[in-house]
């Protein structure tokens, strides 16, 4: 782990524009950005030796660096941020399954390909699909920000964007998607090996992985291309790819240039997509809150008035759901218990967020219940009212009034946390923003649209809460200092 720690700790200082190759030779080191989360076989931690990085890209990079006369050092970075980080100067180059698409070619220098991949379509065994066109009108999963996503977006089908390699295939098996389109490297390792999954035997498309280099570094690009050519000629690339069981007939065949759709404008269709996403965000939040409030109230009552068993049970629930990330809870609910529960993304999101927020609501209501003077319950009991009547007519109405401001807080916070449901392939507002930014090649307009919609969702709610509060406080003296 020590090695990793050092690699993460320090990025390389940026060289002057166009001077990266000089800097590399002076330092005796070339730094390359990649994301370990991409997993086997790209770059990943050696399970046998903690902290050691292995993968075919590590081997290629080491060989390439040797030919440049320097050492190679990997710098960890989130995959989706690799290109912006390269431009910022966090590392010298990017090498991590970076597909050579036209828009990347506009933005960066791309080396000659070091690997030719195919887009492989996986379907459920037993389904009659023979080509990608048989899936028109169906739901097809892939990784977000990939060439496969561009292909799916161009066809009249519903795309389900995922963040991890396993998840789309789990959902394929569970029937949540009807097909998965991904690079053959990922498909062969994570999809085609599953008993219930069948991979179609021909390529939907082909593309290549290239090394990404900053626009000004022509000298470095030339040196890398020379080194790659020499590695191909000497058979070194074939040796490495064979060792990782990646060498196939595609590597020696011509690759046509891959086609990406032209940048999209903020058109009517996109406005519609944004509004749909906003509606989904609202739906997720409202339904989740409708679970969180009654459950939270029940938990609070158990904690405050329950016997030792009920009180401990409620505490365990609260600590468990408050003490672990919502993201983890969503994953467990959707994937972990996927086979037992068969929840769709929306219901999993609603239930997951609802169960999580119930823990927070419970503490808000507990505080409110404890803030009510003792005399209130005594007066109620002295009138002959039972415990439940006292709760229903005296304690809960007063507690809810006290809890209204923090509840409004929690709802607005839930509105934003609902973006986590995008991890189970639901396209809500934040996800739509990321996807639109990709399609438009700009974050500016989608970012503003997203922010405006969130505020349009939360503001009327705060306003409603304010009015409710004012109405409820008819029975209170105005507060002054």
């Amino acid at each position: 782990m020590l090695l990793l720690g050092i690699a993460w700790g320090c990025g390389s200082g940026a060289d002057a524009p166009g001077q990266t190759f000089t800097g590399i030779k002076q330092r005796g080191e070339i730094t390359w950005g990649a994301d370990l989360a991409g997993g086997e076989p790209f770059v990943f931690e050696d399970p046998a030796h903690g902290g050691m990085l292995i993968g075919f890209e590590v081997d290629i990079m080491d060989a390439l660096a040797r030919r440049l006369g320097v050492k190679a050092r990997m710098v960890q970075h989130t995959w989706s941020q690799l290109v912006p980080s390269l431009e910022r100067g966090d590392f010298d180059i990017v090498m991590n399954g970076l597909e050579a698409t036209p828009d990347r070619r506009d933005r960066l220098l791309l080396s000659d390909p070091y690997y030719v991949y195919a887009e492989t379509l996986a379907v459920r065994r037993g389904d009659p699909y023979l080509s990608i066109f048989d899936l028109i009108g169906k739901r097809v999963g892939t990784l977000n920000q990939t060439y496969a996503w561009d292909i799916i977006s161009m066809l009249p089908m519903t795309g389900a964007p995922y963040e991890g390699n396993e998840e789309p295939y789990i959902d394929l098996e569970l029937g949540r998607v009807d097909g998965v389109l991904l690079d053959n490297i990922i498909a062969n390792r994570y999809g085609c090996t599953r008993a219930a999954v069948r991979c179609l035997p021909y390529d939907v498309a082909r593309g290549s992985y290239s090394i990404g280099i900053r626009k000004d570094d022509n000298e470095l690009a030339a040196a890398i291309n020379d080194a790659l050519a020499a590695m191909k000629k000497a058979g070194e690339l074939e040796t490495i790819l064979t060792r990782w069981k990646l060498w196939d007939h595609r590597q020696t065949e011509e690759v046509g240039t891959t086609q990406a759709p032209p940048p999209r404008g903020f058109d009517g269709e996109m406005v519609k997509q944004f509004l749909e996403a906003a509606l989904l965000t609202l739906e997720l939040s409202v339904l989740a809150f409708l679970i969180a409030v009654p459950l939270g109230l029940l938990l609070a009552i158990m904690r405050v008035y329950g016997g030792p068993g009920a009180s401990t049970g409620a505490r365990v629930y609260i600590e468990l759901f408050r003490g672990t990330p919502v993201l983890l809870q969503l994953f467990v609910l959707y994937y972990g218990l996927g086979e037992a529960l068969h929840l769709g993304p929306i219901s999993a999101g609603v239930i997951g967020l609802g169960l999580n927020y119930a823990a927070y609501e419970a503490e808000v209501y507990r505080g409110a219940l404890l803030a009510i003077p003792r005399g209130q319950s005594e007066a109620s009991r002295a009138l002959g009212m039972g415990p439940w009547q006292t709760l229903r007519f005296i304690m809960v109405p007063q507690a809810l009034r006290l809890a209204l401001p923090p509840m409004t807080n929690d709802f607005v916070s839930l509105l934003k946390d609902s973006s986590l449901v995008s991890t189970v392939a639901a396209i809500e507002l934040t996800k739509r923003m990321q996807m639109a930014a990709l399609e438009m090649r700009s974050y500016l307009i989608p970012g503003i649209a997203c922010a405006v919609l969130y505020i349009l969702l939360s503001f009327p709610l705060s306003e409603l809460a304010r009015r409710l509060e004012r109405r409820l406080s008819r029975d209170q003296r105005p507060h002054t200092l």
Partner: protein
Amino acid sequence: MISVRTLSKRHGERRVLENVTADVTKGETIAIVGPSGGGKSTLLRCLNYLEKFDEGHVEIAGAKLIPGMRGSEPALRSLRSRVGMVFQQFNLFPHLSALGNIMLAPMQVKKVGRATAESEALALLERVGLGDRGGAYPHELSGGQQQRVAIARALAMKPEVILFDEPTSALDPEMRDEVMSVIKDLRVNGGMTMLVVTHEMQFAHDIATRVWVIDKGTIAEDGTPAQVIDDPKTAVSREFFGRLKR
């Protein structure tokens, strides 16, 4: 109506009530007086089981209270609906209007219909001199008005006994009279059985059939106002009343 037998209550080592034995017959008004911390309020609160006790028993309005009554919730509820209570801090429900405060328990506990509950509540408000304030919320009422609503709330359950726990102590002097006159009226025109913990000696003198002086958890002296207040027999009473006069 009420009989208390060898009632004892401890707070850890401290004895709050010690071996209290007393009887109250129907229609009596008992003024409970004595130095602070002597156990007056605790004794009163034991009578409707808002406080638990450790030994002895209480018979009140046909119910029997013994130590450790957990689980006899229905019996407690029926007892409390026959024994009203008025608190020092009024304890009106702030989220309900004066009428709402009075109507709630009859409707929920005795299942009285809304119309009946409302007309009875209005009559009670009239009786405590607040016939026009039914729609007011507690914070809109003065302390004296709040306490009168609280008395009407207790009366709405048609109790056989009402326990008053220092009903005028939280009030400004000018508001005490309005509350005391309502209580007096209950005795004169209602024949209600009442126990009143109070520091108002003149009031105790005027309304009480008997006065209990409570000190250190026991009834130090028990007799008519003329006997106890005007001519105290025990050292405790003499010192207590002597201090008040100075």
